[in-house]
């Protein structure tokens, strides 16, 4: 029997946001039919880690099922032998009989209690393991995976789907087992007592099956439609609320209201039919229960008058009929929940099955220390097959040199860095660090020698101190402040209300874009890497602030191989080498002066500034 209270406290299942990119029927079919058993097996593997406890639970389910059969039977006996007649039950006196009945009635709830609390422990542990596995798997997936997916949809899998599994495992698993046991147990006892009445009770079963099929055949597509409408609506709400500033500034409130109303109406319609028809299930069950009750009482009465059954048997049947349809009822109720939980688990496993970032090759090694000599030899790369983002890039950076990457937007600067840090693997050519091919160095180890300040700053929810410490987890508070001072973040931090302990909420709200960058720079300072990558690091820092941190950056870059991507050419003039990229190719290569003397693309770019200066005068 489902525990209504537990059920009540379970968080309402948030609507699963349908993935609109996967709306093709082909995909759905594959998802439905193919993996059901596979998913169950995988869930079982998680559960099976607690075999002993699981066995105990099953034993308890068995006992409680037997007891719940015995209870009504004894009531029937009581009516026939002790209340209506003068018989005895196994020769027991009335008092003793009640003691036995009391024992049955005591043990029945007890076994139920034990089975459910043990199962909860198993279920929650399973969910915990799945969560942790899923999470750590996410961190093994290649970066492009995250670009391809909507974040909301991923989020929904990791949270909603997981919750779905959690709730279902708690109760449904044992419930289904006990339902089946009780079903067969009841059937057996009923047959033994009166085959005729059993048959009567069973008249409702085909009716039930027909009714259920009629309903589920209709609800399936309706729910699917409602779900996709709901996903659409929720997505719309999320997007328009996140973009509220734009909507306001563009005065588009009426338009979004209109579009919202359309979506809202769609969901009202599909929701209405889905709910109406699915709402018939319990009503149908209830009515068939009533019907079988009437049949047993009426026909049983007639049989009793004819002396074919006793009153006690009628009473046992009335109760059994209820007990008999209840497991069916439960099964029916649980069925959709179960299906949706399995589908949820499947979606979770789907992510776990995503191919991980190429594993480090077997012989990949760890380097304790690197000098920072970087060499690209004829490196080519394309994100998709047949498309080249970079072609034939060759250059060599000595340890401690500063390499500036210059070129128009989309020329492949960021891609080059991503190859170096092995977010992607080059499709042609060789990249070496200290003479070793980077493919032979463990990814994590490679990256641990690098520090990045990325174009999109990301800050975690937590204090400023914690955010900086992210660069090196064992850093002391003094070291953190030191790094912040170097990055010129210290002065603005101490001016904040809570200073270093100011809590940045999601995404670093509360401080400006430029301040976020300063924190990111401080974080990189703290990491103390051999190779430093500044990817547009200063693009949103104002020039005044940049002048101030330039000194710190220079100090940081000293002795490290640094790759700098920047649009402001003046910031990279001192670079040892400037790589000018255009359309994925290395167009020009040399120092600032060399490139100016060359009079090519770079000098054009650089003089563009000068020209504008003249035009401005």
């Amino acid at each position: 029997m489902p525990n209504a209270l537990t059920e009540a406290f379970r968080q309402p299942r948030p609507p699963v946001i349908a993935d609109p990119t996967k709306a093709s029927g082909e995909y759905k079919k594959k998802k439905r039919a193919k993996n059901m058993s596979g998913t169950l097996v995988r869930i079982w593997k998680y559960l099976a880690r607690r075999k002993l406890k699981l066995g105990l639970v099953l034993f308890m389910v068995l006992i409680s099922s037997i007891l719940s059969l015995l209870g009504p039977y004894m009531i029937g006996v009581a009516v026939d032998d002790y209340l209506g007649g003068d018989g005895t039950f196994w020769g027991l006196g009335w008092g003793l009989f009640l003691v036995v009945l009391g024992a049955v009635y005591l043990l029945s709830p007890l076994t139920m209690f034990l089975q459910s609390i043990w199962m909860i422990e198993i279920a929650q542990e399973t969910v915990y393991r799945m969560r942790v596995d899923l999470f750590s798997h996410l961190h093994k997936l290649p970066i492009p995976f995250f670009g391809k997916r909507q974040q909301g949809e991923l989020m929904s899998r990791v949270t909603n789907d997981m919750e779905n599994v959690s709730g279902t495992l708690n109760s449904s698993a044992i419930q289904i087992f006990s339902s089946i046991l009780i079903l067969f147990g009841t059937l057996g006892v009923m047959l033994a007592l009166s085959p005729l009445l059993t048959l009567l009770t069973f008249i409702v079963v085909p009716l039930m099956a027909i009714g259920m099929r009629w309903i589920t055949r209709r609800t399936g597509p309706l729910f699917k439609e409602r779900q996709s409408n709901l996903g659409d609506l929720n997505g719309y709400i999320e997007e328009t609320l996140s973009g509220q500033r734009i909507i306001k500034a563009f005065s588009q409130e009426d338009r979004v209201k209109r579009e919202f109303a359309q979506r809202n109406e769609r969901i009202r319609l599909s929701g209405f039919w889905a709910q109406t028809i699915s709402g018939m299930i319990p009503k149908l069950m209830n009515s068939l229960n009533n019907l079988s009750f009437a049949l047993v009482a009426g026909i049983g009465g007639i049989l009793a008058i004819n002396g074919q059954v006793t009153i006690g048997v009628i009473i046992v049947f009335v109760e059994y009929a209820r007990q008999f349809t209840r497991p069916l009822n439960d099964l029916a109720n649980q069925w959709n929940t179960l299906l949706s939980a399995i589908a949820g688990a499947e979606r979770v496993f789907e992510i776990m099955d995503e191919e991980v970032e190429n594993k480090d090759e077997g012989q990949a090694s760890k380097l304790d220390k690197i000098e920072g000599a970087v060499k690209f030899e004829d490196v080519s790369f394309g994100y998709d097959e047949g498309q080249t983002t970079l072609s034939d890039i060759s250059f060599e950076a000595k340890p401690g040199e500063t390499i500036a990457l210059v070129g128009p937007t989309g020329a492949g600067k960021t891609t080059l860095i991503q190859l170096l840090s092995r977010f992607y693997d080059a499709s042609g050519g060789r990249i070496t660090i200290d003479g070793r091919e980077i493919g032979s160095i463990q990814r994590e180890n490679l990256r641990s020698h690098m520090a990045f300040v990325l174009q999109d700053t990301f800050l975690f929810e937590g204090t400023i101190r914690e955010n900086i410490r992210y660069g090196r987890l064992d850093a002391t508070d003094e070291e953190i402040e030191e790094a912040a001072k170097l990055a010129n973040a210290h002065s603005f931090i101490v001016r904040l209300q809570d200073g270093y302990d100011k809590i940045l909420n999601n995404g670093g709200g509360g401080i400006s874009q430029g301040q976020k960058q300063l924190l990111a720079i401080a974080r990189a300072m703290l990491a103390d890497p051999a190779i430093l990558v500044l990817d547009e690091a200063t693009s949103s820092i104002d020039t005044v602030t940049e002048i101030k941190i330039q000194q710190g950056l220079q100090r940081l870059m000293k002795g490290r191989t640094s790759f700098v991507i920047a649009h402001r050419l003046n910031t990279i003039r001192q670079a040892d080498q400037i790589l000018v990229l255009k359309d994925g190719g290395l167009l020009e290569h040399g120092s600032h002066d060399e490139l100016l003397a060359l009079g090519g693309f770079y000098s054009g770019l650089y003089n563009g500034q000068g020209m504008q200066e003249e035009a401005g005068d």
């Binding site: 209504a4 009540a8 002790y82 915990y128 563009f250 018939m280 174009q455 770019l605 500034q609």
Partner: protein, 601 residues
Amino acid sequence: MSLVFAFLKKYRAASLLALLMMVIELAVELAQPYLISKIIDDGIANSDLGVVWMWGGILIVGAVFAFAAGIASSFFASFASQGFASDLRETLYDKVQSFSYSVFSRFATSSLITRMTGDVTQLQDTIFMSLRFMTRVPLVVVGSVVMAMVVNFKLGLLLALTVPLLLVFVLWIMRRAGSMFKNVQKRLDKVNGVIQENLTGIRLIRVFVRMKHENGRFAASSGKLMKNTVSALRLTETTMPFIMLVMNAAIVAVLWFGRADIAAGGATVGEVVAVANYALRTIGALSAFSWIAVTFSRAGASAQRVKEVLDTQNGEFEQNRAYGQENGASAAAFAASRAERSHRAAGGTGNAVVEGAVEFRSVAFKYPTSDIKVLEDISFRIGAGKRVAIMGATGSGKSSLVQLIPHLYDRDKGEIRIDGRSIDEWDTNLLRRSIGYVPQEVLLFTGSIRENIAWGREEASFEEIEEAAKIAQIHETVEKLPNGYETLLGQRGVNLSGGQKQRLSIARALVRRPAILILDDSTSALDLATESRLLEALEDISCTTFLITQKISSTRAADLILLLDEGRLIAGGTHDELMRTSELYRHIHESQYEQGEALHA
């Protein structure tokens, strides 16, 4: 609750019908044990076949009747609850859209989303369940006890004593469980928070090789979630067995006293059976009781959250705006004359009624949620069609300043005048329609590139979209994409580079043919060549442009340069003027140009 009833009013008929159907269904069920006692006592005991036939027939007719009523109740309840949810959602959404931006930002976006989705669904489900099922539970409990007492007062009294006791127990458990589950929810939020953060910051985590750290953090919070969940569930799982235990004891007592009464002639077998049957029915209902109470309290919380949004008053300036609309006659007349003039002046540049002259007089501003003065004593004046460049260090108030122009926030002191008229007197919609705003953080919507640009003005023709894209220097890039303007952008436009997204959002602003264009550092991710082409192209369209920038190259052509520092205007003028008067400006200039070049210039 009043909120629920207010929205349910429209569906009063359907709700009442649903309830009525439910009561009919219930009445049939409650009669069953009574009828069976009749069959036993009057039929079987007297060997009267006719009586058995009659009651049996009534039972069957009742079952059919109950079925019809059940189906009907499902239909009516669904109609009422879906209609309710739909109306509520729409009212909520419209309300939120009517918020001024400063009121809007008082709520966390995520919490608004939850209120509109989760909370509304919660209320809808509660209504649906109430109409069909929940209201029935207390009726079952009370009805069973009453019926049991009708059948046999003395035996029924046993139930009447036990049931309140159990109710108290259930309520006690509920209260405890309530706080425990609140804890669970907090833990769950925490777990989800970690996931969200990790998904957003995945690149950073990779490059800093913090996967182990994050895994550890996640395992810790998941572990806590598991522990709390287990202990909360453990508590609630005691409820049902306990109720069964007590009710079972009651049944044993009924049998015990029943036998004595039968022997004494005070009761019949049928009566004892009926009372036991009523007791069994109460077990199920009692456990559902707790569930209902929890659902209701949860729905109450949802209703509270929804109500909070609906009750939120708009800020002062939005009220002014409403006031302005009420006094609409003069405003409309003003707008009309303005429109006319504008058409004459600009030779029909779209439907803009704003010409674009902007004046700030001693404007001061702080965000509603904080005490920090963001802007103080800002005064400047710029004619229509001119370009203003705003420079200043991080956090100096540049973005805040430009956000005041489309009236996203309201100033605290001073006056802002557009075309010589106070911003309060402008209809905000009218004003915003004439402003093209490109915020610092790019926000694109799901849909194609064309849709995203046209988002600025729905009725824009494809030519106009292309033209805007050309000016924004994104046309060529778009053309090169496999699907051109029909290329779909993911959530927030994930498949474009930062610079491309910036240019798209500039095109979106341009397609509005704004009288005032605000570029809030919107060219930061562009390379110099693209940026200068963009700024040149902007020269050709006549609109007042506010350009927040860090680059001297972009400020040179400006008619007015505002130099901000910590919320104060420290210098204002043309490039040449500032070169003469402002040391900071000279300093910035030097940092961006070699001294020699600058001097040469």
